[in-house]
Structures are given as C-alpha cells and as structure tokens.
C-alpha cells in the first residue's frame, strides 16, 4: 500500500469517524424523538397544536405539516381553505410547523405566526403568510421586518409580539412540531395526516374521497 493511499484512507476514516460521532451524540441528545414513534413520543396532534377555525363535531381530524415558504404548500392553500369551508363543523383542521432547511425564511415565518398565535391570531397570520408568499419568499435576507408589518396590520400588540419573536421558547415551540414531523416520517411539505394516517392523494378528488370515507366511518 502506497503512502498516498494510506494518508488518503486515514483522511476518509477520520472524516467518517467525526460524522459518526456527531450523529451518535445528536441521537442521544434527542433520544425521545428518535425512538418515539411507537412509544408515543411523537404525535400527529398534540394538545397545543394549532386548530384552524372551530373543531369539527365528528372525530375526523386533518393535520397538515406545512412550511410557509414552500411553493407547493402555497399552491394547496386555496384547496385547504375550500375544504375548511366545505367541511366546517365536521372536520377538525390542524396546522403544524415544518420549516424546511431549503427555505431561508421558513423559520422566521413560523416564529412570526407562533408569536401571533400567542395573541390569538394564528389563523389570520397563517393566511397572510400564504397570501403574500411571493413577496417575501426565496430571499436570503431575513424577512422578519415584513412579518412584523403583517403583525402591525393585524392590530397585534407589537411590544409583546417583539418579545415573543425574540423569546427562544417560540422557536422551540416551532421546532417541536418539526421534531414530531421528522419522527412521524414526514419528508416533505405539505404532508397531510387524516385521523393519524398519512394521506397520500394524487388528485384533489381523491383527497376529498378520503375525507368523505373517513366521515362515513
């Protein structure tokens, strides 16, 4: 074995060891979410998950893991709004944060929505994010000022909004949703769960059929 080969192999081995070490440390750090699925650690809906509108009378719950900067979430948003209108009072709609790493302002947006939620305006802020997505998405710079403008438009108490945005607990609340999503095997957004089961429909008609079927049960 030549020296070059030995040195190269040593470099590769050292790199692999560092990555493995970080992975293992990270695992034990968030051990609850890693093996949580079966043990009840990860849940599709939690007590503190945000409901959109009034809960439905039946026991059908539709959960969406969403990212405010994701184009495909924005493109299903009108459909979800339509569903909320059509099944108002029947289905409980839940939205959960799933900010994706490819979107520079996804976390900022989720934090802004969570800060609004603390003043009871989750829904209004959520709608505002999708309606304005094109104006702020896919920009490297922080769009926090834009989001603060939305908060002002909605008449929120800006002093406590600022406080909540700055509070690390707000981001933690967002990321705890994402941790649940990751543990549940959510790999992209939007991902829907109907009564705890992942709903994978290729057409809106199929999506509606599945909801109808759940209501008929």
């Amino acid at each position: 074995m030549s020296t070059n080969l030995k040195v190269s192999a040593a470099l590769v081995a050292a790199f692999a060891a560092v990555v493995a070490a970080i992975l293992i440390l990270g695992q034990s750090d968030s051990g609850s979410s890693a093996d949580g699925g079966a043990a009840g650690g990860a849940q599709v809906v939690r007590e503190d998950s945000h409901r959109l509108g009034e809960p439905g009378a039946g026991d059908v719950t539709l959960v969406e893991f969403l990212d405010f900067e994701c184009e495909s979430c924005a493109s299903v948003y009108p459909f979800v709004e339509q569903l909320r209108e059509d099944y108002a009072g029947q289905v409980t709609f839940v939205a959960r944060y799933m900010p994706m790493p490819g979107h520079p302002n996804a976390e900022n947006a989720a934090v802004a929505v969570e800060a609004a939620a603390q003043q009871g305006e989750f829904e209004a802020m959520y709608q505002r994010m999708y309606e304005t997505q094109e104006q702020w998405s896919h920009r490297e710079e922080s769009q926090a000022a834009v989001f603060r403008g939305f908060a002002a438009d909605l008449g929120l108490d800006l002093a406590s909004y600022d406080e909540d945005v700055a509070d690390p607990a707000t981001l933690e609340r967002v990321l705890s949703d994402r941790d649940d999503g990751l543990a549940l095997g959510v790999e992209g957004t939007p991902t829907f769960f109907l009564n705890g089961e992942k709903l994978e429909a290729t057409t809106t008609d199929e999506f509606i059929e599945r909801i109808e079927a759940a209501l008929d049960e």
Binding site: V12, A34, P101, G102, H103, L182, E187, G188, T189
Partner: protein, 212 residues
C-alpha cells in the same frame, strides 16, 4: 478512489513535455464522463422547459428538492443553460486524451489553452457548488458528476503543465510542485472531503433522518 489513482500516475511517469499515458487515459475517460453528465443535464433541461408548471413537493431530501436547481437563475449563468458549456467543452478534453493515446504531440500553446479551459472550468464548478449548497440548497446528481470529474482534470492538467514549465519557474515553486505531484491523490482526497463535509453540514437535518 480509483480515478484519483489513475490521475496520479501520469504525472509520476511523465516524460518532459509529452504527457504520460495515464494522463491521456484520464483525459479521455474524464472527458467522456463529463460529456455524458452534461448531455443528460441538457436533455433534462429541455424536459423541464416543456413542462414548467410542474410543482414538486418541498422535500427534505436535497436531491429531490423543490428549490429545483435547473429552474434557478444560476442554471443559466451566461444566458443559456449551463450544460451546453459541458456538452461543448468535455469533448475537447476527451479528444485531447484520444490524440495523446494515438501518439500525437501537442504544442505548448495547446497545453496553455487547455490549462485556461480547465482553470475556467474548475472555477465555474466551484461557483456552481456554492450556489447549489448555499443559494439553491439542493443537490443534483449529474451536476455532482461534473464537479467530481472537473477537479481531477484540473489538477492533472495543471501538474502536467507546471512540470513542463519547470525550467522557467523558480526552484521554490518547483519543490512545491514536486511535493504536490507525489501527493496528488492525497490532495484530491482532501479536496473532495472538504466538499463532502460542506454537503454533510448543509443538509444535516436530512442525513440525520436517514439514520434516526
């Protein structure tokens, strides 16, 4: 790292001026690999242009990401799809390798031009890597083939030329070149590892879901 071993040999066995057989083989193989990857990318680009309405889901998987690389402005750095550069450039590299294998001797001005080409190529590829990792935040497998081929093409051609120009360079520089020449595959391994480390760090959330 068999390809780095291939790239390693030419410089070691190289007689002055000619370019060794290993270098010739590597230029041919690397040029062809790069050409195929660029051709696939060019064809996919046309498929994408045919259906721009398609909105894929936003995926954690950086390889299937919604921040689609080919739809990004960086995919047309010079006003036309980047893969066309590769479709035009890699055959030149492959042909050079074939000419050398056929016993051709190339003038110094040809080697100097090739040097200009691979230098521009390696610089462009690193700009694309930066864009891919930190701006578009997605990976595209065929692009990565182009990255992986361009770097050793650059180092192999550069070492060959620096060796040929040795009489005109100061002794200190020649000593450094000699060191790099004997450690060519280590250099390439370290270079690739830096890129792999950046990719690992950038898409950490995704890799951790694969293990967890």
């Amino acid at each position: 790292m068999s390809d780095t071993a291939v790239a390693d040999r030419p410089v070691a066995t190289e007689a002055r001026g000619g370019g060794g057989r290993g270098l010739a083989v590597w230029l041919l193989v690397g040029g062809l690999l790069g050409f195929v990857a660029a051709l696939v990318l060019a064809v996919e680009k046309y498929a994408l242009l045919a259906d721009p309405s398609y909105v894929p889901t936003c995926s954690l998987n950086p390889i299937l990401s919604c921040g689609s690389i080919m739809a990004s402005p960086q995919a047309e750095a010079f006003g036309f799809p980047n893969p066309l550069l590769g479709v035009a450039g890699f055959p030149v590299v492959a042909t050079t390798g074939a000419v050398l294998l056929a016993g051709g001797r190339l003038a110094e001005w040809f080697w100097a031009s090739l040097q200009a080409g691979v230098t521009a190529g390696v610089a462009f590829v690193h700009w694309l890597m930066f864009a891919s990792l930190y701006r578009i935040e997605a990976l595209c497998p065929y692009c990565m083939v182009v990255w992986a081929v361009t770097i050793p093409l650059f180092t192999a051609v550069t070492l060959r030329n620096l060796t040929a120009w040795a009489p005109r360079l100061p002794a200190g520089v020649n000593a450094a070149i000699a060191l790099v020449r004997t450690r060519h595959s280590v250099l390439l391994t370290a270079w690739f590892l830096l890129i792999v480390a950046a990719i690992t760090q950038r898409f950490w959330l995704y890799w951790s879901t694969l293990v967890g």
